[in-house]
């Protein structure tokens, strides 16, 4: 089994120390950091994401895999910077104002990071201005938001409108999700994309950013 495959495999078992050891070993062997990232760490996250989608893996397993991914990234980061490997794109993410539910949002962030994107996670209860500020400051490609309540869902429109008012709407793709949110709703309030779960949200980025 190649070192890449081994990294992908132990990552899915959530073994942080073992992932880190293998990443070091790969670097010592002179393998390129970009390869270790794409064929090893990201491949492992993609595999577990697929199994999650098929109900073969479950949330806690995805979480420990993501933790192992982060562990591997710590070792890899310097080499990535030296080789000047850029993230695939930048995403600004937050749960809308009035809403404190972050479990689903955190899963989405994890899968997006696991797919190789830079994610600026603003947290929960985020006012519209903050979304615009962060998108501008980080030169984001995509702005994502979640709302878990029927009472906070209308705030998606407030955020979209804020982008319009500031005259920067066309610079960003806007994606939204959360329990009560539907594709029709996002379109109706002027957003661009809706996805129903964390894996599809990360997959969608690939379509949007290329």
């Amino acid at each position: 089994m190649s070192l890449y495959d081994q990294i992908a495999e132990v990552l899915q078992k959530g073994q942080v120390a073992e992932v880190q050891r293998l990443v070091k070993e790969a670097l010592d062997q002179g393998l390129k950091s970009e390869g270790i990232l794409n064929e090893g760490l990201l491949k492992g996250m993609m595999d577990i994401g697929d199994r999650w989608k098929r109900n073969e893996a479950f949330v806690p397993e995805v979480l420990i895999a993501a933790r192992a991914m982060n562990g591997g990234m710590e070792v890899l980061e310097k080499a990535l910077a030296d080789e000047d490997v850029k993230p695939k794109g930048t995403v600004v993410m937050g749960t809308v104002k009035g809403d404190l539910h972050d479990i689903g949002k955190n899963l989405v962030v994890m899968m997006m990071k696991g797919a190789g994107y830079k994610v600026i996670d603003l947290g929960v209860d985020i006012p519209a201005e903050k979304f615009v500020e962060a998108a501008e400051a980080h030169q984001a490609d995509v702005v994502c938001m979640s709302a878990l309540l029927t009472t906070t869902m209308p705030y998606i429109k407030t955020v979209v409108d804020e982008f319009e008012n500031k005259g920067v709407r066309e610079k960003y793709a806007i994606m939204a999700g959360g329990a009560p949110v539907t594709e029709e709703y996002v379109k109706e309030v002027g957003g661009d994309f809706y996805t129903k779960d964390a894996v599809s949200a990360a997959d969608k980025l690939a379509e949007i950013i290329n």
């Binding site: 479950f58 404190l100 209860d125 009472t151």
Partner: protein, 266 residues
């Protein structure tokens, strides 16, 4: 054990259409079934119909109470919709819910007082939102009971929701809820509890098994109410058994009655 039947909620399949079309037969059928299966209250929630909630919620209360002789659990964060529903409600309603968040508290308390309803109180406030720490939740819960009581609401009308969260994303969330129930019960033995259970099993397989097991653990900690589907026979049988075991069922009469009615064959 106080059972609130959860099946009249527009986030469930078919209910949105039924409410939009004011389908009396559909709603009454759901109410009757839930009462036959052991519901003490019928939850009415049409929160997804944001624009017509103020008209739809009282319609639901009237429609339900024409069919069954049970109170409703009026489930909405919107004070206008709650008030409209309380106006037409017969008997002692339960309002779901209030929190220690300043705005929500001050909007809803006057309604609870005026209509002498029960009130479900979530252990969260402006400062920490939903705390992940049991001690903090207990502090918020006890503070909320003190304040409600001072504002004229009897303690036995208060139903504390300990906020059940998934064990899949933080393994200690089951324990946090159990400790919250226990802690609040120690200070206020006469207060009631009310919560949905299914959140505990989010992200895991065989959710029914986790939900049932958790219910029993919660009952041991002092939980005496739950929002659930009374048509879930395994869950209801588990409640019968747990009540008998916890001495909430004198001479196990209810357990035996459930047995004779075939309700334990699950």
């Amino acid at each position: 054990m106080i059972i609130v039947g959860e099946k009249i909620n527009t986030s469930l399949k078919g209910v949105t259409e039924a409410v939009k079309n004011r389908d009396v037969a559909f709603i009454q059928q759901r109410a009757i079934e839930q009462v036959e299966n052991g519901a003490d209250y019928i939850d009415v929630n049409c929160g997804t119909l944001v624009n017509e909630e103020v008209e739809a919620l009282p319609w639901l209360v009237e429609t339900v109470q024409q069919a069954v002789d049970k109170p409703c659990c009026i489930d909405s964060p919107n004070p206008k919709a709650i008030e409209a529903a309380l106006k037409v409600h017969k008997g002692k309603a339960m309002v779901n819910s209030i929190t220690a968040e300043e705005n929500r508290y001050s909007e809803i308390v006057p309604l609870v007082k005026e209509y002498k309803s029960g009130i479900v109180a979530l252990v969260m406030n402006d400062e920490c939102g939903i705390s992940e720490d049991a001690a903090k939740r207990i502090e918020i819960g006890v503070g909320l009971i003190d304040r409600l009581n001072k504002d004229g609401i009897p303690i036995e009308d208060i139903y504390i929701d300990p906020l059940i969260q998934p064990i899949s994303t933080a393994s200690d969330m089951g324990i946090v809820s159990l400790e919250t129930i226990k802690g609040i019960k120690t200070t206020y033995p006469e207060v009631h509890f009310m919560c949905g259970l299914s959140n505990v099993s989010f992200g895991l397989p065989k959710r029914g098994l986790l939900n049932r097991t958790f219910l029993v653990l919660c009952m041991m900690a002092g939980l005496d109410g739950a929002i659930l589907d009374p048509g879930n026979k395994q869950m209801m049988a588990m409640i019968s058994a747990a009540k008998a075991l916890l001495n909430k069922d004198e001479y196990t009469m209810n357990y035996l009655q459930a047995f004779r009615s075939g309700l334990l064959e699950v």
